[in-house]
Symmetry: C2
Subunit: 147 residues, 2 copies
Amino acid sequence: MKLSTRGQYGTRALLELALHQGQGPVLLRDIAQRQQISLHYLEHLISPLIAGGIVRSTRGARGGVSLARAPEEIRLSEVVRLLEGSIAPVKCVDNPEACNRSELCVTRDIWGELKQAIDGVLESTTLKDLVERQRRKEQPKEAMYYI
Amino acid sequence: MKLSTRGQYGTRALLELALHQGQGPVLLRDIAQRQQISLHYLEHLISPLIAGGIVRSTRGARGGVSLARAPEEIRLSEVVRLLEGSIAPVKCVDNPEACNRSELCVTRDIWGELKQAIDGVLESTTLKDLVERQRRKEQPKEAMYYI
DNA sequence: GACTTTGTTGACTAATCTAGTCAACAAAGG
DNA sequence: CCTTTGTTGACTAGATTAGTCAACAAAGTC
């Protein structure tokens, strides 16, 4: 039940973009440096996010990448799906034909519930949520004053 | 976010044992055949389950394997942990030292919530639950009469 | 229009993991 | 002693992961 670095790095990269939302394109180089990701590897992770309509890119000098939609409209479920493929823990959950025992298999039912549970978390979390959490973490003292 | 065949096959094998609970040892060969798992592969999956105290084995003629505990006391969380290792989607959830950014990383927090969600399902499901679901599936008509 | 900056794409690769297979061995029963 | 059954360790083909590298494409800059 592991998430590969694609999903991890991709999410961190998008968080970085969300944090700089509205400030023009961010350099891939800067994302890579700030999030400690190999630049060449990051290039390959951005590609499916652009194709998926989450990221917009600008080439040339003063170029970079930025979010194609508002942070509150980008759910982690979408990000993970674009970078890792289906969220289902086993193939047969998505397509029953993957196994001839699907109909009567109760383990399949459980893996289906597992998928639902995972999806519940990822579907309910947007980049905006991540940004808010991040800001809260970075300003613990100020937050305290207002409580 | 995939479960490998270890977790899948292992769960199916244990379900098979739970279905024959109290009827003496079951042959690995029979489990393999009924659950469509390679016998040689299954042998390797049983080993950690024995070490983990979930399965008991009997060697020699009329031998086989059986559950070491009652089905209602074997949770899927334990099974998956024995066969796949930690359930955490990323390493840093279990040990923060895995990444120097752990403290301030909000993505880590989300992966932690994901782990909780997964654990919630696996922790609340026992082999007994699987057996009951299986019996219900196999006897749909009789069940209908009593509704 | 030449030059520089930046993203895009595809080829390639080392290391690791997966899903097995095979053979030798150990214990128990008949 | 022989057969049955589980146990263990060595080995492997193929896939996946996590990159690297180089050539290219587009967009500013001077």
